[in-house]
């Protein structure tokens, strides 16, 4: 008789594609990709629910300030990523930062993929998400103009360094974090761009070797300020804040587009 475990393995082999880690940067078109991956890799899939995680960490230690909470959250996510890799989970997708250790140990067996978005659009979209956030922890209740002067706005402006530098936020001068993020992005098997999703989707299907039904989830709702309505001053300020993201994004567009063309 077929044991439960061997039946599970057979199901995994028949339904899942190539092993993959999808680093889902928020507001970069990743929700549709996560859904498609979850459906395709249902037999062997892992993710991290940030709402549950932050609630768990704050409950475990109510004294944690924001900085320590962030650090604890990142350590947890990296440990979970490595555990899932060692468990041979076929698809790990979610808001997980790039881990040099995970890539070094598993890049021969797994494809590492991600998506990026134009940093100004990213910033505005992120702001709207926080305005509409259900969790008090992530809520913003001020105008975009007022928000631009807060530390959180600075954080969004360097968000791509958090995801790709492999360094803790504030653990190195920003120039070094940007440099590392660029170097790490070159290690990815595919980097998609929100304004060119069809080509990324094609690339992903090729890499994974299975059909994927990628829809368009999380389409932004009509909201307060959109990019076109920003004043020149606000737009300048968003650009200043987003300098690290812009540097990384332009590098990725230039270098990775060339690589794809060459391939």
């Amino acid at each position: 008789m077929l044991s439960f475990e061997s039946a599970r393995q057979t199901l995994i082999e028949r339904t899942c594609g190539h092993r993959v880690v999808f680093h889902h940067v928020p507001k970069c078109g990743g929700t549709s990709i996560e859904r498609a991956l979850r459906l395709r890799y249902a037999a062997s899939y892992a993710t991290v629910d940030l709402r549950a995680l932050y609630n768990a960490l704050a409950c475990a230690d109510p004294e944690l300030d924001d900085t320590r909470l962030e650090r604890a959250s990142n350590e947890y996510r990296e440990a979970e990523l490595l555990s899932a890799l060692y468990f041979d989970t076929r698809c790990i997708a979610g808001h997980i930062y790039f881990s040099a250790t995970a890539h070094r140990l598993f890049s021969d067996r797994y494809h590492f993929v991600t998506t990026l978005r134009d940093p100004i659009d990213f910033f505005v979209s992120f702001y709207h998400q926080m305005v509409n956030a259900r969790e008090a922890r992530w809520q913003v209740d001020r105008s975009l103009e007022a928000f631009l002067e807060t530390p959180r706005a600075e954080l969004i402006g360097r968000f791509y360094t958090l995801y790709f530098s492999g360094l803790p936020d504030g653990g190195a001068p920003i120039e070094e974090s940007v440099r590392r993020a660029k170097a790490n992005l070159l290690k990815f098997d595919a980097v998609g761009f929100v304004d060119a999703m069809p080509s990324f989707n094609r690339r992903l299907r090729e890499l994974l070797g299975v059909p994927l039904w990628i829809g368009h989830a999380n389409r932004s709702r009509a909201s307060g300020v959109d990019r076109a309505e920003m004043s020149t001053d606000m737009r300048r300020r968003v650009s200043e804040l987003s300098a690290p993201n812009i540097d990384i994004y332009e590098f990725a567009r230039r270098e990775l587009a060339e690589r794809e063309t060459a391939a």
Binding site: A56, L57, Y76, A79, L82, S83, Y86
Partner: protein, 259 residues
């Protein structure tokens, strides 16, 4: 959203009462875990030992084995809360009692565990470690050598370590740790005993509203006479001494929590 609502209704209908099963190693938990996972097939989560130890070895290669074990335990206490906040119906595994988890979730979850006679637990763990994953835990062949290890010492206070609710670095053999473990065990909905699994199952049915088909997994491959033959008088005395904390807690539980 409708699909999610449907899924939740299905989980509610198919599962028993929500529970956390604290599986102390070598206390019959593997069989119980299998039965629970079958019964709560739509919503259960566990803690994977070998992948997590390998992950921690990769991330913190400089750790000693004892520090690594504590790091895993600390991660899993966070993970327990993560599962609770994710509304998983059945959470089971080698996870220590967390006062924060109990205080936040005891109105929705039943907390359940099993204990084993401590001397028997030590012998069982010695034979178990001979066949463990070698790259993570190298086996120790002679019981005399095993009883000198940090792990054997730790196992001698495992009940206190699991149930005191204190930080993982606290001394589990200290009187304060033992007293806290006893107090916390009183908060459990069911404390079962390996030599009375039928009674445990009956009480579980009363508290969860479901009956489990508990088998006997992880049965030792070593014949009973061979297991007995290694227990010289000096080995018995050493086991007794190592298990002082476990014995105190176990005797308390048998006396006060068996019904």
């Amino acid at each position: 959203m409708r699909l999610e609502g449907l899924r939740k209704s299905l989980v509610e209908a198919a599962s028993g009462h929500r529970l956390v099963f604290h599986h102390v190693p070598k206390c019959g938990g593997t069989s119980i875990g299998k039965a629970l996972r079958r019964r709560y097939a739509f919503s259960s989560a566990r803690f994977r030992t070998v992948p997590t130890f390998r992950a921690m070895a990769a991330l913190y290669p400089e750790d000693s084995p004892a520090v690594r074990a504590r790091r895993v335990d600390d991660l899993w206490q966070q993970k327990l809360l993560y599962y609770l906040f994710s509304d998983i119906h059945c959470i089971l595994g080698h996870v220590r009692f967390s006062a924060a988890a109990y205080e936040r979730f005891s109105d929705r979850y039943r907390f359940v565990t099993t204990l084993r006679e401590p001397r028997s637990l030590t012998v069982s763990h010695f034979f178990f470690q001979l066949n463990r994953v070698g790259d993570v835990w190298p086996p120790i062949q002679r019981i005399e050598d095993y009883l000198e290890t940090d792990e054997a010492r730790q196992m001698g206070s495992i009940f206190s370590y699991y149930f005191s609710g204190l930080p993982s670095a606290a001394d589990p053999a200290a009187a304060a740790s033992i007293e806290r473990a006893k107090a916390n065990l009183r908060r459990f909905a069911v404390v079962g005993f390996v030599d009375d699994m039928a009674g445990f199952n009956e009480r579980l049915r009363g508290t969860l509203g479901v009956r489990l088909a508990i088998g006997h997994a992880n049965r030792s491959s070593t014949p009973a006479n061979e297991r007995q033959s290694i227990l010289t008088d000096s080995v018995r005395r050493k086991i007794e001494a190592l298990n002082a904390a476990n014995i105190e807690i176990y005797d308390f539980a048998r006396r006060e929590l068996a019904q």
